[in-house]
C-alpha cells in the first residue's frame, strides 16, 4: 500500500483511443447506406432515360406497339411495370419517362429516390458534412419546384443532366469531405452495390429489346441500341479506348462485365464491394463467413476466370439474373449483420419475478 502508484488514479484514456468511440449505430449505418444507394439509383435512372429518349429520335415513325416494345424492357428492369399499368394505359415515351422521373407512387422514380436519399441524409444530418447535405437538399428543392417540370418538358436532356450533376456533386463531396471510417464504408457499399446491380440491368435491357426484324441483327439499329447501352453506363468513351472500330454486342457485354479499369463495370464494382466488405468485417481477404458472403466471393473470383463466350453459351440474361440474386442476398446479409436490431422484449427485460417457492411437506 505504500507504493504511491496504487493510490494515485491513472490518467483517463482519451476517448478517441477507445474502440467504442469508433462504433456506430446500426441506424446510422442503415441511413448512410440507403442515402448512397438511392442517389446512385437516381443517377443511373436519369442516364438511362436520357439515352433512350435520345435514341427515340433516330426512330421517328414508330407505332404504339413498337414504342411499347422499346419502353417495356426499361420498365421491367426497374421492376415497376405493375405500378405503371395501374397509372397509365399506354407505354410510350411520355408516360414511361414521366412515371420513372416524377411519379411519387413509384418508389424507384428519380424523385422518390432523391427524396428518400435526402430523408436518410436528414436522419444522419450530424454525421455527414454540411456540403453533402446542402447538395442533396438543393437537389430536393429543385425537384419540388415547378421549375423542374418546366425544364423537363422543354428539354428532358437538360433536366437529366441536372440530376446527374447533383449526384456527381454529392459523390464528389462525399469523397472530399466525409471522414474515412465505418460510415464511409457503408456509403461505398451502397454505391457500388447499386452500381453493379444497375449495370447488370442496363445490359439486360438489350436482351429484352426486340429488333424490328431478324435482318436487323448486326445492322444499324442493333448498333445504335448497343451504343445506347454503353452511353447509359457512361461507358462509350471508355469502350472506344479499347475497341476503336465497331460497337460489337459481344465486346460491349465483355467490356461492361469484365473491364478492370472502367469504374462502372460489374467486375470493378464487385471488387470495390469485396474490399469494403472485408474492411467492415475485419476479416482477411478471401475469408467469407456467411452463405451470402461466400456466394458473393465465388462470383468475384468467377469473374477472374470466366470468358464472355462461356457467358453467352449459358445465356447472358441468366448470368445477369444470377448476379442480381447474389447482390440481393448480399444486401439482405448486410442488413441482418450490421443494421437490423432485433426487437427488445421489454417485458422480459424489465419484469421482476419472485423466485418460485418450494412447499415444505
Amino acid at each position: 500500500m505504500s507504493d504511491l502508484s496504487t493510490i494515485i488514479p491513472t490518467a483517463q484514456k482519451p476517448i478517441s483511443d477507445r474502440r467504442d468511440s469508433q462504433v456506430m449505430l446500426s441506424r446510422v449505418a442503415n441511413s448512410l447506406y440507403w442515402m448512397s444507394r438511392y442517389i446512385e439509383r437516381a443517377e443511373n435512372m436519369a442516364r438511362l432515360l436520357d439515352v433512350n429518349l435520345q435514341l427515340m429520335l433516330d426512330f421517328a415513325d414508330l407505332n404504339d406497339q413498337q414504342l411499347k416494345e422499346h419502353w417495356l424492357p426499361i420498365l421491367c428492369s426497374a421492376g415497376d411495370e405493375e405500378t405503371f399499368f395501374k397509372l397509365y394505359d399506354r407505354a410510350d415515351s411520355e408516360s414511361v419517362t414521366e412515371f420513372l422521373t416524377f411519379r411519387e407512387e413509384n418508389p424507384n422514380s428519380i424523385i422518390s429516390c432523391l427524396f428518400t436519399a435526402r430523408e436518410n441524409a436528414r436522419q444522419v444530418r450530424d454525421q455527414i458534412s454540411l456540403e453533402m447535405f446542402e447538395a442533396l437538399n438543393e437537389c430536393y428543392l429543385f425537384l419540388k419546384s415547378k421549375n423542374s417540370r418546366e425544364i423537363w418538358q422543354s428539354g428532358a436532356h437538360d433536366f437529366y443532366e441536372q440530376i446527374k450533376k447533383y449526384s456527381h456533386l454529392f459523390q464528389g463531396l462525399t469523397s472530399s469531405t466525409f471522414t474515412r471510417g465505418e460510415g464511409y464504408e457503408f456509403i461505398n457499399l451502397g454505391k457500388f452495390l447499386e452500381r453493379a446491380d444497375k449495370t447488370t440491368r442496363i445490359l439486360d435491357i438489350k436482351y429484352h429489346i426486340l429488333l424490328p426484324s431478324v435482318a436487323d441483327v448486326g445492322g444499324a439499329v442493333d448498333a445504335a441500341q448497343w451504343q445506347a447501352i454503353l452511353r447509359s453506363a457512361s461507358a462509350l468513351e471508355a469502350y472506344r479506348r479499347f475497341h476503336v472500330e465497331d460497337i460489337l454486342p459481344k465486346k460491349v457485354a465483355e467490356f461492361l462485365i469484365f473491364s478492370t479499369t472502367f469504374p462502372r463495370s460489374i467486375r470493378a464494382c464487385l471488387q470495390h464491394l469485396d474490399e469494403d466488405l472485408h474492411r467492415l468485417s475485419g476479416k482477411e481477404r478471401r475469408e467469407y463467413r456467411s452463405p451470402e458472403e461466400r456466394a458473393f466471393g465465388k462470383l468475384v473470383s468467377d469473374l477472374n476466370f470466366m470468358t464472355i463466350d462461356e457467358i453467352q453459351n449459358n445465356g447472358l440474361h441468366e448470368f445477369l439474373q444470377g448476379i442480381q440474386t447474389i447482390l440481393d442476398h448480399l444486401d439482405d446479409h448486410i442488413y441482418q449483420e450490421y443494421m437490423y436490431h432485433p426487437p427488445v422484449d421489454m417485458q422480459a427485460e424489465i419484469l421482476l419475478h419472485q423466485q418460485q417457492m418450494q412447499q415444505q411437506q
Binding site: 423466485q355 418450494q358 415444505q360
Partner: protein
Amino acid sequence: MIPQDIPSSSSSGEAPWAEPLVLTISHLTRYTYEGAVQDSFNEARLQPVTDELQICRDFRFRLDPQSQVRDYPDFYSNCVHYFDVHHPHESLEVEAVSVVETMPEPRGTVPEVGTEALGTAAIKEHHFDFLHASEFVSLGADVWREAIDALPGGLRDVWTDSVAIGEHIHKNYKYTPLSTNVNTRAAEVIKKKQGVCQDFAHLMLGLCRTHGIPARYVSGYFLNKHKLPGEIEASHAWIEVFIPGYGWKGYDPTHRREADTRYVKIAVGRDYGDIRPVGGTFRGKGTRQMVVEVSVQRIS
C-alpha cells in the same frame, strides 16, 4: 410426498426418539428459466442451527452459476446466505449439504404451566410476533371457531393442550400431497380439511395463537425411516410453542409427536413467509421449472 409415514390415528403418540443421531442432509434446488434471466438477488435459509438439541458439524453451500455468498443473521437469528447473479443465466442451482448431530432433550419433562403465566406483560411483549396474525396465519373467525373445536374446555395447561390441538389437527385433517400449494393460508386449510406439513404447521400456529400460546413456525428436515427407494423428499415444517419457565418446545402436527432427535431445525419465524428455504427476485421471462431434491441420511 410421504404418506406411509403418517401414523394411523388409532395408536397413541409413539415415544420420542432419545437416541443421539448424526445425520447428513443434502438439499438441492434447481430453477430452470424461460430463456436467460438476470439481476437475480437471493436469500437462502438452509444452514441448520446449533443449539442444545443439535450441533451443525459441517455445512457446505454450492451455487451454479458461481457467485459470491455472504451470510448474516436475520431478526430471529437464523443464518441467511445472500447471493446475487447479475449476468444472464438460464438456470440456477442452490445446494446445501450439512452434517448435523442431534441430541435428546436435556431439559427433562415439560412442567405444567397454567394460563396465568402466559398472560404477563413481559411474555406478551416479548413474544408479540408469535401471538398475533402473520402473512400465512390469519386469526379470523374461522380460525377462532376451529380453535374452540380443538380445545372445547379452553386452555388449562400449555403443553398438554398444545399436544391436544396437534392431535385434533392430525385426527381431522388428511395428509394429501398436492392438495395445496406453497401459498395456501391457514384459513383455506380449515375449509379443505387436508394439506401437507406446511399447512398443518400454519393451522396449528393459528389455533395456538388464538388460545394465547406463543407459537412459531420451524423449517427443517427429519429422518424419514419409511422412505421408498428413490422417493423425493422435501424439507419439513413443524411448530414450536413457548412454555413459560421451560422455553420453546417443538411439536409436529403432521406426525403427531414432539420434535425429537430425528428432527433438524434450520430456522424459525412467524410463518413460512419469514423463512422460505430459497427466495429472491430476478428479471426475465419467468420460471419454467423448479426441481427440489432433499435427502436425509443417518450416518451414525
